[in-house]
C-alpha cells in the first residue's frame, strides 16, 4: 500500500494544455467499450427475439421492456423509491458496522483471534435462508430488508478493513514510535489512512451486493419495492415488467458503485494509480 518509490509527477505547461483533450480520450477509452458492447448485445437480442418469434412472457424484446418501463413509470417510480431507500440505509449500516467491527478486531488481538474465525465461518450461512426468519421476527417493514442488505454487504467491508489496517508496513510504525507517537496517533495518522484504499475496495464490492440484498429482502415478505413488484409480475407472467424491474435494480447497483468510487477519489486522491 505504502510504497516508498513513486515517480515524480508534475504537469508541464504543454501537458496542462493538452490535458482537457486527454481527458476526453480517457473517458472514451474507459466508457467506450462497455457502451458499444451493451448496444451491440441489445441489438442482437432484439433481432434474435424477433427472428425466432419468442413469446414475450418467455423472453421479451428490449423494445417491449422499454415501453413497459414507460407505461408503468408511476408505479415503478414509487417502487424504486422504496427499494432505493432500503439499499442506501442498509448499505450505510453495513459500512458503519463493517468499519466499526473491523477497527475493533484490528485493535484487539484477543477479539481478532476469537471473533474473526467465527465471522469467516458465518459467511457459509446462506443469507437468503435467513430472510424469512428475519421477516417473522421483524415484520414486513423496512427492518428485515436493512438487516439482509447489511448482512450481505458487511463482510467484504469488515475483512478489507482488518486486512488494510493489518498490512501497514511495520517500518512506518517504527518511524512513528521514534517520533513520540502514541498508539492512537499511529492509528489515526498512519494505519487508518493507509488502510483506506483497501477499505474502499471492500466497500465497492459491497456496493454491488446491496441491491441484490434488497430484492431478496423484499422476496421474503414485503408490500412494496422492486423485488415485490418482480414477484407480482412473475405471478401474472408479465415478464416484460419483471425485466423492467431488474433493469432498475441493476441501475441502482451501478449508481451505488459509482457513488462509492467518487467518494473514494475525493477522499484519497493520493492513492490514484
Amino acid at each position: 500500500m505504502l510504497t516508498a518509490e513513486k515517480k515524480p509527477r508534475q504537469l508541464g505547461v504543454a501537458e496542462k494544455a493538452r490535458s482537457s483533450d486527454g481527458r476526453t480520450r480517457h473517458v472514451l477509452k474507459t466508457y467506450g467499450p462497455p457502451i458499444v458492447l451493451v448496444v451491440l448485445a441489445i441489438g442482437v437480442w432484439e433481432l434474435l427475439c424477433r427472428a425466432l418469434d419468442v413469446p414475450a412472457y418467455l423472453w421479451p424484446t428490449p423494445s417491449l421492456i422499454a415501453t413497459t418501463l414507460v407505461d408503468n413509470a408511476d408505479g415503478l417510480a414509487s417502487d424504486t423509491w422504496v427499494t432505493l431507500k432500503e439499499v442506501v440505509y442498509g448499505f450505510l449500516i453495513a459500512v458503519a458496522a463493517g468499519l466499526g467491527i473491523g477497527i475493533a478486531l484490528h485493535l484487539s488481538g484477543l477479539l481478532r483471534r476469537g471473533v474473526l474465525p467465527l465471522l469467516i465461518a458465518s459467511q457459509s450461512i446462506p443469507t437468503v435462508v435467513l430472510a424469512p426468519v428475519l421477516v417473522l421476527v421483524m415484520g414486513f417493514g423496512i427492518g428485515p430488508k436493512l438487516a439482509i442488505i447489511a448482512l450481505f454487504c458487511f463482510f467484504p467491508i469488515c475483512i478489507n478493513t482488518v486486512d488494510g489496517l493489518g498490512s501497514v508496513d511495520r517500518e512506518y510504525v517504527r518511524m512513528m514510535l521514534t517520533l513520540d507517537a502514541s498508539r492512537s496517533a499511529i492509528f489515526r495518522r498512519v494505519e487508518f489512512p493507509s488502510a483506506l484504499p483497501s477499505i474502499f475496495s471492500g466497500t465497492r464490492i459491497a456496493a454491488t451486493y446491496a441491491a441484490i440484498g434488497a430484492v431478496f429482502g423484499e422476496w421474503a415478505g414485503s408490500e412494496a419495492g422492486l423485488g415485490f413488484q418482480m414477484l407480482q409480475a412473475q405471478g401474472r407472467l408479465d415478464t416484460p415488467l419483471v425485466f423492467a424491474a431488474v433493469l432498475i435494480v441493476t441501475l441502482i447497483a451501478v449508481a451505488v458503485f459509482l457513488l462509492v468510487t467518487i467518494v473514494e477519489r475525493l477522499t484519497i486522491p493520493w492513492a490514484k494509480t
Binding site: 513513486k6 508534475q10 512506518y172 518511524m175 512513528m176 521514534t178 517520533l179 496517533a185 495518522r189
Partner: protein, 269 residues
C-alpha cells in the same frame, strides 16, 4: 530558534530531554539473537556527546539491528545500552530519532505536514506545528516544496524532507540507517554534502549505518567496521577531515584514500 521551539513545547517530558541534550551513547556487551540466529555479539561502543559515529559492514551484519536496539525498538538479549541517564527501552525511545533508508513519507500529507508529525504526535495543533516547521524548510533549501506531496518530489528531495521530519522531533540522538542507499550516486553525493552541512549546523549525537565507506568517512568523526554475522567490531578509527571543504577535494585527498583502503581491508576479513 531553539528557544522558540522549546516555548511551544506542550509536554514537560520534552524539557528533560532538552536538558539531556549532551547525552552520549554507551553500549556494553550487547548480544541480540532472533531465534537461532545471532545478529550481534559482544558489542561495546561509546559515542561521545555531539559526535557522529559511522558503522560500516557487510549486509546482514546486524547494523540496523543495533540501531533498533539503541532506539529501544528492540531489547538486546544481553548487555546494556544507555543514552545519558536513559537506560530502559522506553526512555531510550524518547531520546532517539530514526531516519531509515526509505523516506517513509506519508503520501496523503504534504512535505510540510510530514515534517510536522513529531510535533503533532506530542499534541501540538497542526497549524502551530506548521508554523514551527516552515522556517526549517527555508533554512534547508526546501522553501518552495512545502506544499508538495511526496509523489511530486524527487528521491533526494524526499530524503531531505525525511531528515527535516527527524530533526523536528528534537531528539538528542540521531540514528541514520543507510539514509541514502536508495538514491543514485550523483544524488547521494549531493545529499551527503547537504547532510554534513545540516549536521554541522545542528550538532547531534549521531550514529550512521551504511555500506558506503566514503559516506561513513565523510560524515562522521569515528568509523567502526563490523564483521559479517554475527556482527562484531573488527576495527575502529578516527576520521578528521575538514568540514567546510568541498566533498570532491576530500574524497580525492591521499589521507582519505589511505583511510578508505584501511576500512575496505577490514571489511574483507
Amino acid at each position: 530558534m531553539a528557544g522558540e521551539r522549546q516555548l511551544a513545547s506542550p509536554s514537560a517530558g520534552r524539557m528533560s530531554v532538552r536538558e539531556e541534550d549532551d547525552a552520549g551513547i554507551e553500549i556494553r556487551g550487547v548480544r541480540q539473537t532472533f531465534g537461532d540466529v545471532v545478529a550481534l555479539d559482544g558489542i561495546d561502543l561509546s559515542v561521545r556527546p555531539h559526535t557522529r559515529l559511522g558503522i560500516v559492514g557487510p549486509s546482514g551484519c546486524g547494523k540496523s539491528t543495533l540501531l533498533s536496539d539503541i532506539a529501544g525498538l528492540l531489547e538486546p538479549d544481553e548487555g546494556t545500552i544507555s543514552i545519558g541517564s536513559a537506560e530502559t527501552p522506553r526512555e531510550r525511545l524518547a531520546r532517539c530519532a530514526l531516519m531509515p533508508q526509505k523516506d517513509l513519507l506519508l503520501p496523503w500529507r504534504t512535505a510540510l505536514d510530514n515534517a510536522c508529525l513529531a510535533l503533532e504526535n506530542r499534541g501540538l495543533a497542526r497549524k502551530a506545528a506548521r508554523e514551527l516547521a516552515r522556517p526549517l524548510f527555508e533554512r534547508f533549501g526546501l522553501g518552495e516544496f512545502e506544499e508538495r506531496t511526496p509523489a511530486e518530489l524527487s528521491g533526494g528531495m524526499r530524503q531531505r524532507v525525511a531528515f527535516l521530519r527527524t530533526l523536528m522531533a528534537e531528539k538528542a540522538v540521531f540514528l541514520l540507517d543507510e539514509p541514502f542507499a536508495a538514491l543514485d550516486s550523483i544524488t547521494r553525493a549531493q545529499m551527503q554534502e547537504w547532510l554534513l552541512g545540516a549536521l554541522e549546523e545542528e550538532p547531534k549525537t549521531a550514529l550512521l549505518v551504511t555500506h558506503d565507506v566514503d559516506e561513513a568517512l565523510l560524515l562522521t568523526h569515528r568509523v567502526v567496521v563490523f564483521s559479517a554475522r554475527p556482527g562484531r567490531i573488527v576495527q575502529s578509527f578516527e576520521t578528521n577531515f575538514p568540514r567546510h571543504v568541498p566533498r570532491r577535494e576530500i574524497v580525492t585527498s591521499p589521507e582519505f584514500s589511505a583511510l578508505k583502503e584501511q576500512a575496505l581491508e577490514a571489511l574483507e576479513c
